[in-house]
Amino acid sequence: MLRLDERDAARLAGEEGPAVALAMRVVTRVAEAMEAERLLDIVGAHIDSCLFTGMASLDFAGRLADDGARVSVPTTLNVSSLDLLHPELSRGDAEEVRLSRRLMDRFEEMGCRPTWTCAPYQLEERPGFGEHVAWAESNAIVFANSVLGARTHRWGDFIDLCCAITGRAPAAGLHLDANRLATTVVRLNGVSDELLDRDVLYPVLGGLIGPLVGKAVPVIVGLPDGVSEDRLKALGAAAASTGSVGLFHVAGSTPEAPTLDAALGGRAPVAEFEVGPEDLRAARDRLSTTDDDRLRTVSLGTPHYSVGQFGRLVEVLGDRRIHDGVNVYASTGRDVLREVELRGWADRLVDAGVQMVVDTCTYFTSIIEDTSGTSMTDSAKWAYYAPGNLGVEVVFGSIEDCVESAVAGRVVRDEGLWTRV
């Protein structure tokens, strides 16, 4: 039974106006659906509802903005449907572009920061260990919980804004201690040191874990200690897209898993899975939809590339150029782009033929010039969603595979990485 404090009850009754009342109604109805007993304070929010999915997006944000809603906690905005710095990239319907822009404006009117990134954890300010936030965007949620040790449930579109307006979230799900302990162990067995040392392992492992564990909280054993944030980001994004993972632990790497036992809270796991080289190879294969090697597009930066990932791209590309007839897109946030420009990397990449994309991403917007041939990506999330959203055929590969292919003008992959022991 949900108990509201005096202020929550007053706001629900409309004492702070119709916008706050509507936001409170959504928060409390979801709290009741989750059987929460109370609401809790949040210190920040990240909003996904700013991505236009149809008139419902605009109807909801518009109703709140028209009624004078303002966010009451620092609030960042996820990707939108438009790249405002490179508007010429849009191939979308003019009316949809207008509506998408209108939606973005409404969120700015309500006091949200126009960050337009799906990787708010790459911004300067990010939530600290143990802090409660209300984040939407599945990859951001899983990163906040797993890598930062901050606390957010898997909040979806609409309630993200309602939490930001009220500063409150249901005390339920991953906000609560008891639901953060691992119940499932995923143990790597027989994976080569070479593969353990490569970025490409992590999105593949995430794509394998998603359907395997569903909504459970897994702890992964058998990875090297101190796995980097970029690798954990790729793992989480993949597990959150292919399954419903909102929190994972990596023994020896993530803050709530100094040891396997700590991640499990001293309890025995409900389920244990072993993952070997063959499972990983099969998981990698499932990320591709074609073996046609006629390459037209390479999409990088899902989730938005970090400065470190751009550094790796620059290093792998060297002084080579992208092959004629191949479009390479690299998506990121404006803050990261600024840093990449300062380092002189942006000019080098653009000169070599790479198209920078900000504010949005290439797996749901009409940016890709030629969707007819094969698209390649280093992102399991892109590989998972783009065929449905855009109708493209996709080949998943490492960043090295993607660059070699872009330079060669056809798909080239290092198959040996998946068979050597």
Partner: protein, 132 residues
Amino acid sequence: MVAGEASGEVLRLDEPLSFWGGLDPTTGRIIDRRHPQVGESVADRVLVMPSGKGSSGGSSVLCEAVRAGTGPRAVLMAEPDEIIALGAVVADELYGRLVPVVVLAEGIDGLHTGDRCTVSGQTVSAYSARRS
């Protein structure tokens, strides 16, 4: 999770579905190419599935589908999913159209595509198409 009244023909999914990136709200069809029921329409069906999954944009897609008249009449799942419940709550707030979202304690094994199904409050009754 969201109580209400609805009845219709069951569409049973064999695997979880992410509404965002998995369902086209302009047509009501499943577009996730890796999903076993890709191409099926959820419009005016009682959608039965193991659970939701994936994107937090699922609530927007469900709400938009309800607005556009391509949404399911009810969603029945074996496990709770707040993102789906949220989409139903907001569609009710904005458009006054309530799509009940119910978690079945006994699971979804007894429900099959083509069954007739009625949801009343939190209670679900179904009539098998095969028996009739």
